[in-house]
Structures are given as structure tokens and as C-alpha cells.
């Protein structure tokens, strides 16, 4: 395979990643509609999201197969190798994001309303917007190989964690006020948890971008 052809294949892989990413972004948007828009047709939106999840799964399989073949045939080195490795990692992350988004949508569909939950929901919306932004940014960083943007995404993850803590705190006080809300509150805690995980996956993708550009693995360094 010529270098030109190899580059074309890499670009194809990147556009597959971009379309997977687009799906995830859409799913998050639709999930937020399910949770926050009272007049929305929740059942229909849920079905849309489920179809997207299926599409992401098939894209993941396809991407995995392509990467596998390229590795076998090309035995790439240096940046080409890093590129394929980060595509494989990103592929996994995006698929996880899709699963998590579907889970959020499911919880949102069965959500019961209550005026007591107003503040918590407000916080949750803020978190969802924040996470969506992280997802958009990490995908942009990946497609444009933008290391700076990626590093920003990694920093943003801390805020996502803080928001989750805040939501949990709010929900705890709701439960204390009205124990009948305990089921709904637990669902909402679940939503926050999944959102936080999506943030983590976005961070993973951002870390892959840094690896792609520098060859350095910066995972698990903040904890130290």
C-alpha cells in the first residue's frame, strides 16, 4: 500500500470517528430533551437514541476491523502507529459514551416530576451542558490534532466532578425533605454518575490526543 493510500485510509478512519462522535453529541442533546423538556415525546426520543446507539455499535465494529487490518498490512511506525493506537482507544471510548447516553435517556424517560427537584435538575442541566461541551471539544481536538484544546478538556474534567458532587448533595437534601422521592432521586444520582463517566471518557480521548502529538502517556497523572 502506498503512503498516499495509507493516508487516505487514516482519513477515512478519522471521519468514521467523527461520525461516531456526532452520534454521541446528538444522543446527549436528545437525552437532555427527554429530561428537561416537559412537552417532549419521551418515548419517540428514546427510540431515536436507541437507534443511534445501535449505529455506534456497528461503527465501532467496523472501525476496529479496519484498524486491525491496517496494523497487520502496514506495520506503521512513529506517528502513523500512534494515530492508529489512539483511534482504537477513542473508538472504545466513544462506544462507552454511547452506552452511557442510552442509559441516561432510559432513566430520563421514567423520571417523575416534582417541584422539590427544581434546584437539582437545574444543577443537572448545567452539568449536562458542561459534559456536552467536553465531548464536542475532545472530538474537535482529536479531529484537528489540537493538543492545547485537549489539555483544556482534561482540566475541565475536574469541574464535572465538582458538579456531580453538588448534584448528589442537592439530591440528598431532597430525600431528607420527602422520602417518597427516593426512587426518583436515585435515578437522578444515576444520571449524574453516568454523565461523570462520559466526562471521563472525553478526558480519555483528550489524553489520546496528547499521546498522538507527543508520544507521551499522561494518563493517571493528576491523581499523584
Amino acid at each position: 500500500m502506498s503512503v498516499k493510500l495509507f493516508d487516505e485510509r487514516l482519513n477515512e478512519l478519522k471521519s468514521l470517528i467523527a461520525s461516531m462522535g456526532g452520534c454521541v453529541e446528538q444522543m446527549l442533546k436528545e437525552a437532555s430533551m427527554i429530561i428537561f423538556q416537559k412537552q417532549a415525546d419521551k418515548e419517540k426520543l428514546y427510540r431515536v437514541i436507541r437507534d443511534r446507539e445501535i449505529e455506534i455499535d456497528s461503527l465501532q465494529v467496523k472501525l476496529g476491523k479496519y484498524c486491525f487490518r491496517l496494523l497487520a498490512v502496514q506495520s506503521p511506525v512513529a506517528k502513523d502507529l500512534r494515530m492508529i493506537l489512539s483511534i482504537i482507544a477513542t473508538n472504545t471510548s466513544l462506544e462507552r459514551m454511547g452506552d452511557l447516553s442510552l442509559n441516561i435517556a432510559k432513566r430520563g424517560r421514567d423520571l417523575k416530576e416534582d417541584p422539590l427537584l427544581e434546584t437539582s435538575l437545574h444543577c443537572l442541566e448545567e452539568m449536562l451542558i458542561h459534559i456536552s461541551l467536553m465531548v464536542v471539544d475532545c472530538l474537535d481536538a482529536f479531529i484537528n490534532e489540537d493538543e492545547n484544546l485537549a489539555r483544556q478538556v482534561i482540566i475541565q474534567d475536574r469541574k464535572a466532578d465538582d458538579l456531580k458532587e453538588k448534584i448528589c448533595f442537592e439530591l440528598k437534601s431532597c430525600i431528607l425533605k420527602n422520602t417518597k422521592l427516593i426512587d426518583t432521586c436515585l435515578q437522578l444520582v444515576g444520571v449524574a454518575e453516568k454523565l461523570e463517566r462520559i466526562g471521563d471518557q472525553a478526558t480519555n480521548i483528550a489524553e489520546e490526543v496528547v499521546f498522538l502529538q507527543t508520544g507521551m502517556d499522561i494518563k493517571h497523572q493528576q491523581q499523584k
Binding site: 512513529a78 506517528k79 502507529l81 500512534r82
Partner: protein, 260 residues
């Protein structure tokens, strides 16, 4: 390849300082500085005509055997500059074996004589000692089992891959501390190539190997250190694992990913 981080301080065997080489008026190497570590395999890679072969031929003073060739700079082997005025190229070459691109057993000589010739020329005459050294060299070159029953056959009757291993045995016989190989597998098919590659890996416990190759995958498989030459200059000298994952220099990256 080892993933362990070596804490041991590596010993330098050859230090190349400001080496430049010429053929008549054209400059083949300019200002090469390089440290070759003991018991490591160093691969020299680069496009054709970049001075790879010239470089390793400077390490055993073969460069000067070509008419009109000369050089400047120092090559310090085990603390002594081999280009010092008083040093004798004959003695220096005894300490540095060399294997060439095309397998070249000496014509008209048996397998035994091919291996023993270096020993005989260096003054060893005792038959038992010769026998022992020949066997050891052939074993080290992973050829003993195949040829032990017909040592008196002509060296040229062997297959290409065996001939190249014979040449390695011939170079090993005089107990060199460095082994230079100039594209040792470029004339061989894949199986013989794999044999030689495995051999290089084994040899590094006894000798320091410096080899030139056109085959990047081979350099990646076999070497510990990579020196990338371009237009007579050393562009990058790096650990192999680094060189093939994150080269320091964009020219190296372009070369190894084929975007040259």
C-alpha cells in the same frame, strides 16, 4: 526488546568524535558524533548514498583502503583513538570483525579454512587450538550442526544463508570486540534473514554489533539503538523503541513513515 528501565550505567565502547570523510573531493560524512554502547546492537539506517556504509568502514579503517579516500576526526575504541599516528590498522582490524553485503566465503577454501584463516594469519598454528576455535566460532554462528560432518567441503558449496553465517563465523574466530555488518541480509531470502537476525541478537552478549540496513523493520526488530543518517549527516541517534514510536526529528519521522 525489554520494557524494563535499565538502571545500570551503560559502558561506551566506541566514541566517534567530529568524524568527516571524503572520497576525493566529495564529502561522504560530515561531523559525526556518536557513542556506541558495549553489548548493544546499533543499527545504521538512512536512504541510499547517505554515508551509512562509509561510516562503518571508518570504524575499522577500511575507508582508507579506497583510492582517494581520507577522513578527519577521531574514533575512540576502548579509550584509544584508532586513527592515532602510531596505531596499526592491521592490529585494529583484528579487534573489529566485518561481514559484508554479499556472502563471500573465500574461493578455493574449505569451510574449516575459511574460519581458521584469520587465526592462522594471526599466528596460531596449533591444530588442537585451531580445531577448538573453529568449532566455537561455527557454534556461535549457529552453523556447526549443519556443517560439522563436512568441514572440508568448499565454503562456496553452502547455501546463501549458510555462507553468510560462515562469514560471521570467520569474523568471530579472531575474537573481535566489535562486529560490523554492512547490510548482512540484503542478499538473503526471509528465512535466512530471520536466522541472521536471531544470531545478531544472540551475539550481542559477546560482541558489540553495528550494522547497516535498508530494512527498517529489521532495524526495529534487531537493534537497541538507531542512528539515522541523511546526506552524510547524523540526523538522529536514539533508542530504537523511541525512534520508532516518537522520533525526535521530523526528518526521521518522514523517513520511517515513508513520507520522504
Amino acid at each position: 526488546m525489554s520494557f524494563k528501565k535499565g538502571k545500570m550505567k551503560q559502558k561506551t565502547l566506541i566514541e566517534v568524535k567530529a568524524l568527516s570523510a571524503w572520497f576525493k573531493k566529495s564529502q561522504a560524512l560530515s561531523n559525526i558524533n556518536l557513542l556506541i554502547e558495549k553489548n548493544k546492537v546499533t543499527a545504521i539506517i538512512g536512504p541510499s548514498g547517505c554515508g551509512k556504509s562509509t561510516f562503518i568502514r571508518c570504524l575499522n579503517r577500511l575507508h582508507e583502503e579506497v583510492e582517494g579516500a581520507y577522513l578527519k576526526g577521531e574514533v575512540i575504541l576502548e579509550g584509544k583513538n584508532i586513527y592515532d599516528l602510531g596505531s596499526d590498522p592491521v592490529l585494529i582490524r583484528r579487534n573489529i570483525g566485518m561481514v559484508f553485503q554479499k556472502p563471500n566465503p573465500f574461493p578455493g577454501m574449505s569451510i574449516y579454512d575459511n574460519v581458521a584463516i584469520g587465526l592462522k594469519l594471526s599466528g596460531i598454528k596449533k591444530r588442537s587450538l585451531l580445531d577448538e576455535r573453529v568449532e566455537r566460532s561455527l557454534r556461535n554462528a549457529a552453523l556447526w550442526k549443519e556443517v560439522k560432518d563436512h568441514l572440508s567441503r568448499s565454503g562456496q558449496s553452502l547455501s546463501g544463508g549458510q555462507q553468510q553465517r560462515l562469514c560471521i563465523a570467520r569474523a568471530l574466530a579472531v575474537n573481535p570486540s566489535v562486529m560490523l555488518m554492512d547490510e548482512p541480509t540484503s542478499a538473503l531470502e526471509p528465512i535466512s534473514t530471520a536466522w541472521i537476525e536471531e544470531l545478531i541478537q544472540k551475539l550481542k552478549n559477546q560482541v558489540t554489533v553495528v550494522f547497516v540496513t535498508h530494512n527498517m523493520q529489521q532495524a526495529a526488530r534487531v537493534s537497541d539503538r538507531i542512528a539515522f543518517f541523511l546526506n552524510g549527516e547524523l540526523v538522529e541517534f536514539n533508542k530504537t523503541s523511541w525512534f520508532f514510536t516518537k522520533p525526535k526529528h521530523s526528518k526521521s519521522e518522514d523517513y520511517i513513515t515513508g513520507r520522504f
